[in-house]
């Protein structure tokens, strides 16, 4: 599943640590999500989408099965 976390984070000029702090997760988890190694839980996916003012389906693309957790 592809996501737009890195793209959105860079667009807002945030570091991975800053995004992690804002979402209440570790920097390593942000890295894993950006790299597609970890699929966040539904609550975290909503937190990420809300943080970037996007919907979950805009943030995470279920049609792309390239990566998984």
């Amino acid at each position: 599943m592809r996501n737009r976390v890195r793209e959105q984070r860079i667009q807002r000029e945030l570091s991975q640590a800053e995004l992690a702090a804002a979402l209440g997760v570790s920097r390593q988890t942000v890295i894993s999500i950006e790299n597609g190694r970890y699929l966040p839980s539904l609550p975290l996916a909503f937190r990420i989408a809300r943080f970037f003012d996007l919907t979950v389906d805009k943030m995470f693309d279920p049609d792309d099965e390239e990566t998984g957790s």
Binding site: S26, R27, Q28, T29, S32, P40, S41, P43, L44
Partner: protein, 138 residues
């Protein structure tokens, strides 16, 4: 209730207190000279734990009990792996003991314990209708 001890310090403090109690018991039993060897081990273990817990890694977050959902999920997978390996080791030990005609009861206890724990887990972690709650995983 919130603990007054910061998360990173919690385990080292418990280690110092617990280790101190063990050191005093050992000192009373085997002579106070044993404190010279046991005391530094206790302090070194607590300091080492504190230093490790301060690093920026998954392992450190788990050590200071501040793991996020991915780290909790990872810890659960590690614990499951440990459980599987230990259960397999006990089963192999049981077979080896049976073949060697050695005492079977220590292995039998652990084989039974694995089964009972599985059943207990099945009951404890079943889904309750209408019950809200956070679950880790996917």
């Amino acid at each position: 209730m919130m603990s007054p001890i910061p998360p990173r310090l919690r385990a080292p403090v418990y280690m110092l207190v617990g280790g101190g109690v063990i050191d005093v018991i050992a000192g009373a039993a085997w002579g106070w000279g044993s404190l010279i060897s046991l005391g530094p081990i206790t302090v070194a273990a607590a300091v080492g734990y504190y230093v490790l817990a301060g690093r920026d890694s998954d392992f450190s977050a788990m050590l200071r009990d501040q793991a996020d959902e991915r780290q909790v999920y990872r810890r659960l997978k590690i614990q499951a792996l440990v459980g599987r390996v230990m259960t397999a080791a006990v089963a192999v030990g049981y077979l080896v003991a049976a073949l060697a005609k050695a005492a079977l009861w220590p292995f039998a206890i652990f084989v039974a314990l694995a089964g009972v724990t599985f059943l207990a887990g099945w009951l404890v972690y079943r889904e309750h209708p209408g019950a809200g709650g956070q679950q880790v995983g996917h």
